[in-house]
């Protein structure tokens, strides 16, 4: 079965109380170190973003298929994979940001969670993106469509990213290479 390469979801736009992008959201804000003893992925979702000011109740409100949008350097800091897994636990459909922490991006790619870089994201006019907006992402071309109206460009999936995504995750991808 092929996984869809055009995905649609409702956005959660990670802005502060004044409507500004929150840059450098680190892995301690996404999944705080006091929960690191948790190894069951299903138990991780409830703590997603609970150390990010103004977003403490995100996990209780997010629905499967929702997408997260953030500014620069989302997922900075530690290599902890729980900061990706907590979103997978909630069924988050995609992560979109102007840039990501390097290890964070790899973790998402290897988990098969769509992660899309939009280089000009924070240069777009304030108010362009709002929580609740509908976003469609074409993972092949990198084209994004907001509320069926505004088109903008992100980076398309690399080949290895698409292969891992289609396989499901890095392990399944590895199995396919073996065969």
């Amino acid at each position: 079965m092929r996984r869809p390469t055009k995905i649609i979801g409702q956005l959660w736009v990670l802005l502060d109380s004044e409507g500004q992008w929150i840059d450098d959201i680190d892995t301690d804000m996404i999944f705080h170190n006091r929960y690191l003893h948790i190894t069951d992925i299903d138990a991780m979702g409830q703590y997603a973003l609970d150390n990010l000011k103004g977003w403490e109740t995100f996990a209780q409100q997010a629905k499967p298929g929702d997408m997260i949008m953030a500014g620069k350097n989302f997922g900075a800091g530690s290599s902890r994979q729980q900061a990706v897994d907590c979103f997978r636990a909630l069924g988050i459909g995609a992560l979109v940001a102007e840039s990501f922490g390097a290890i964070y991006k790899r973790n998402a790619i290897n988990s098969g969670l769509p992660i899309v870089v939009v280089p000009e994201l924070t240069k777009m006019p304030p108010g362009t993106f709002n929580t609740g907006d509908a976003l469609m992402i074409d993972l092949v071309t990198g084209e994004l469509l907001l509320n069926g109206e505004l088109t903008f460009r992100g980076e398309p999936f690399s080949r290895v990213q698409m292969d891992i995504y289609q396989a499901g995750n890095l392990f399944e991808y590895g199995r396919q290479l073996e065969q």
Binding site: N33, A76, S78, S79, Q81, V84, S99, I103, N107, N110
Partner: protein
């Protein structure tokens, strides 16, 4: 046209004539570093469905994050790791007490010029100080490397940072890297390979070079490197006994950015709460009250760091309202500090000596903070809530700054201390 360090080493290891930034290559790492998270990684490894790690010689496992175990959960994880090590026949296993993974790995000869090292820890770029390509990865990926022995890597763009001049007294590599991070910001080197060069680098010991590459992670670098020279080779003698081939960037390589810093007049630097790039010269924060001072971690727990602190603390006593925690980065560092008399100096001055390990840096044990408390630390991260309470504050500075501040009970310029 010439090639950068990252382009040359990844091309060589991928068996290609040359590679370009953005290209994805598959390589076999020389070493895979994992720590306490090996418990979870071993569980993921078993899910893959292979019985044996692809090459037991590739694995380096160091217990350092919560050692000795703080509670039953950590103890059980450590036990799982010890059993995994025996089952898989992994020779390079370093148990509780050996030290922090980023110190133990090079001390035991697992880092060398031209090596490719990946590790399930974000400060793995530390090992670029030895001329290796070293990058952090996640747990799933570490399990996959265990199983397959290979990893995909995106060839990074490269940034050249040239450091000129000579450091003033009581100003150290820590101040240099804090200054650079303050200028480049937390995303200034995202996905990039950072090459440090220049006369100020040539003058640095391995210890100082490791501080630079260690903290490059805080500006988003994928890896950071210092070209090997006589200082590198001397440090590696007797530790790395097999031959190795150094990789040096070409003089005419293409860099995405070139930055130059003159360190001659650099003041001690401080990263204020709650981000590492919130950097100011120490003169802007002098007098801030502290409750705790932390000397140690993979950034600044080496002999040179302890020596710098002891130089200020010897024959004196820390302020009555301050806890000074000292964690040598490894058993080797601890033994050297004992034989130099540094440990006696520090403990006499009021320090609490903790075992080699990560200690309170990641907030799991051994010195977490209560609400409204303030720690000045030689560590590499000051994220909100990292060392206990979310309502506590972490300032980052050099070993000399931490020592001078512990003496006074407030943040103090080490250049002014007696």
């Amino acid at each position: 046209m010439g090639y950068t360090f990252a382009e040359k080493i990844l091309a060589r290891r991928a068996g290609l004539a040359h590679v370009a930034p953005g290209q994805i290559v598959t390589v076999k790492p020389d070493r895979l570093l994992t720590h306490d998270n090996t418990a979870d990684i071993s569980r993921k490894f078993r899910k893959i469905g292979v019985d044996r790690v692809s090459d037991p010689q590739m694995n380096v496992i160091v217990l350092d994050h919560v050692v000795p175990a703080a509670d039953e959960t950590y103890a059980t994880n450590h036990k799982v790791i010890r059993e995994f090590v025996v089952e898989q026949g992994i020779p390079a296993f370093y148990d509780v007490g050996e030290g922090i993974c980023h110190q133990v790995l090079p001390e035991k000869g697992h880092a060398w010029p031209g090596a490719v090292i990946v590790g399930s820890d974000s400060h793995t770029p530390t090992h670029g100080a030895f001329g290796a390509f070293a990058a952090g990865i996640g747990r799933t990926e570490a399990a996959a490397v265990m199983a397959t022995g290979t990893i995909w890597l995106r060839v990074p763009e490269s940034i050249k940072i040239v450091l000129t001049g000579a450091l003033p007294p009581r100003v150290s590599a820590k101040d240099v890297i804090l200054h650079i991070i303050g200028r480049l910001k937390a995303d200034g080197a995202t996905y990039c390979s950072v090459e440090f060069m220049g006369e100020a680098i040539a003058a640095l010991s391995m210890s100082g070079r490791m501080t630079l590459t260690n903290m490059s992670a805080e500006m988003g670098a994928k890896n950071a490197v210092v070209a090997p020279d006589a200082i590198t080779r001397a440090w590696l003698e007797r530790r790395v006994t097999h031959p190795y081939e150094e990789v040096h960037a070409d003089p005419d390589a293409h860099y995405a950015r070139v930055l130059e810093f003159d360190v001659s007049d650099l003041a001690p630097q401080i990263a204020k709460p709650h981000t590492v790039d919130n950097v100011v010269p120490i003169t802007e924060v002098i007098g801030v009250r502290i409750d705790q001072a932390l000397l140690g971690t993979c950034t600044n727990g080496r002999l040179e760091d302890l020596r710098a602190a002891a130089g200020l603390l010897r024959g004196k006593h820390i302020a009555p309202n301050v806890r000074l925690l000292v964690l040598p980065a490894s058993r080797e560092v601890l033994l050297a500090a004992i034989s130099e008399g540094i440990v006696a100096d520090l403990v006499t001055a009021g320090a609490t000596l903790l075992n080699p390990g990560c200690g309170p840096c990641l907030g799991a044990h051994q010195g977490c903070m209560a609400p409204a408390e303030v720690t000045i630390s030689t560590a590499n991260r000051n994220f909100k809530g990292r060392m206990g309470s979310k309502n506590a504050f972490i300032y980052l500075g050099s070993p000399a700054t931490v020592a001078a501040s512990a003496l006074a009970g407030v943040i103090t310029d080490p250049r002014e201390a007696a």
